[in-house]
């Protein structure tokens, strides 16, 4: 099974209207080549699951600017003025999710959990439309899994089977997103032979990765 594909081949998996989960935090740990390729292909109506909409010229921020995205499920849009403008103009649907809840919802989807109970959001508008449970006298919100059709992630070092290692603060949501998508495409900053990453140091096991691009 050869997972290594060209950028063009990888883009064949990405269609209009898909839900796409993207790794990265304000663009750090985001697969920029895949982001740019999606812009170039002109993919439309993406529902984006990501921590933030980054910056107009960085990360998934470019998708917002280029109108590839119709909805974002996200914890923060404040660093990208275009996101707020489109939201206010009714051009972009924004579902705001507390960052820790976003991580748990994606993880729940990847881990086969039906949901998790979090205290975050209790007493705020985040409660709206959600089931509340009281455990030992404390209130929690039931937060449901969040799954994607495709995940686009970025590894600092990736072997040819798809095992990935993330350098320093580039890890963030990358493994989480990889567990919660039907198809996972990883962009390798550095592609190495199988065995070059110590099995103990692998951060995303190859079993989650379907396609590797350089």
């Amino acid at each position: 099974m050869n997972k290594i594909k060209t950028l063009d081949q990888a883009l064949d998996y990405i269609k209009d209207g898909m839900t796409i989960a993207v790794g990265g935090f304000l663009g750090v740990g985001t697969p920029e080549k895949l982001i740019d390729a999606v812009v170039a292909k002109g993919v439309k109506n993406i529902t984006l699951i990501c921590n933030d909409t980054a910056f107009p010229d960085k990360g998934v921020g470019k998708w917002v600017v280029n109108k590839n995205v119709s909805k974002v499920i996200i914890s923060h849009i404040g660093t990208n003025p275009e996101s707020g403008r489109q939201m206010n103009a009714g051009e972009l649907e924004v579902e705001l999710v507390p960052q820790g809840t976003l991580a748990e919802r994606v993880r729940a989807a990847g881990a086969g959990l039906g949901g998790v109970l979090t205290p975050t959001g209790i007493g705020t508008i985040v409660e709206q439309g959600k089931q509340k449970l009281t455990i030992e006298g404390k209130d929690y919100l039931l937060e449901l899994p969040l799954k994607a059709d495709v995940a686009l992630i970025k590894g600092s070092i990736v072997d040819k089977k798809g095992n990935a290692y993330y350098n320093k603060s580039t890890r963030n949501f990358n493994t989480l997103m990889a567990t919660a998508a039907d198809l996972v495409i990883i962009e390798a900053e550095k592609l190495v032979e199988v065995g070059e990453i110590d099995p103990t140091d692998v951060m995303t096991p190859s079993i989650f990765v379907d396609v590797i691009v350089e």
Binding site: H76, G78, G84, L96, G123, I125, K168, L176
Partner: protein
């Protein structure tokens, strides 16, 4: 009453720094709270948590020394100290929500006498999103609000927040350029007052009901 903007901000961050204890794990919010790191007292060793995924946030690197793979939660170039540890976002918020963070310091749009905090949106105007703030305020053992006492002359410390809340009843301490206030079961208590400031001035700039501590002290800043 302190009028100079820079002096106001210095008073706030200097005073917040004194709230930190040796061994504390601390998250400093973007903006003013970030500067607290420059005033931590001698002998107090705190570890800084960065919600994008590490503990052991270090000083801003010198121009030319930046590492593209190390940024803080505001995406600015950062560094790590010896003994730091990087992890993923699930672990980052396990630390936050799980009660492993000793102190979080954040700014506020509004805060009220019940410890409610609003700092993530102004409906119809500015909706940046809550980012990690809701988890931080719910999860940290101590929540310190660090902010200027008023915004354009309007009170920010209220009887009841009218902006959408970040969390309900979680704020412990408010530090401004006018004083230090603690949220208690009895209400909001002014425990310290800034130099060059009178109690009447604080009361006039505060919409919340203020209880003046019997042993009111002057802020050491």
């Amino acid at each position: 009453m302190i009028q100079d903007k820079d002096r106001k901000r210095e008073v706030i961050v200097k005073r917040v720094a004194k709230e930190l204890k040796d061994g504390d794990l601390v998250n400093l919010g973007i903006g003013l709270p970030t500067q607290v790191v420059n005033f931590i007292p001698e002998g107090v060793d705190v570890l800084l948590h960065s919600e994008n995924g590490f503990v052991g946030l270090g000083p801003t690197p010198k121009p030319g020394d930046e590492d593209k793979d190390i940024v803080n939660a505001g995406a600015q170039p950062a560094s790590h100290v010896a003994g730091a540890a990087y992890f993923d976002s699930a672990m980052s918020f396990t630390i936050i929500r799980g009660g492993h963070l000793d102190v979080t310091v954040l700014g506020a749009l509004q805060v009220d006498q019940k410890g409610n905090l609003a700092n993530w949106m102004i409906p119809g105007k500015m909706v940046p999103g809550m980012g990690g703030a809701m988890d931080l305020v719910v999860g940290a053992k101590r929540v310190i609000v660090a902010m200027e006492h008023t915004a354009k002359g309007e009170a920010k410390i209220l009887k009841q927040c009218n902006l959408p809340l970040t969390a309900a009843g979680e704020v412990d301490t408010i530090v401004t350029e006018m004083g230090v206030m603690k949220v208690t079961p009895q209400g909001l208590v002014l425990t310290e007052i800034a130099p060059e400031t009178t109690v009447d001035e604080v009361i006039s700039m505060t919409e919340a009901d203020l209880i003046i501590a019997e042993d009111l002290k002057v802020m050491d800043v």
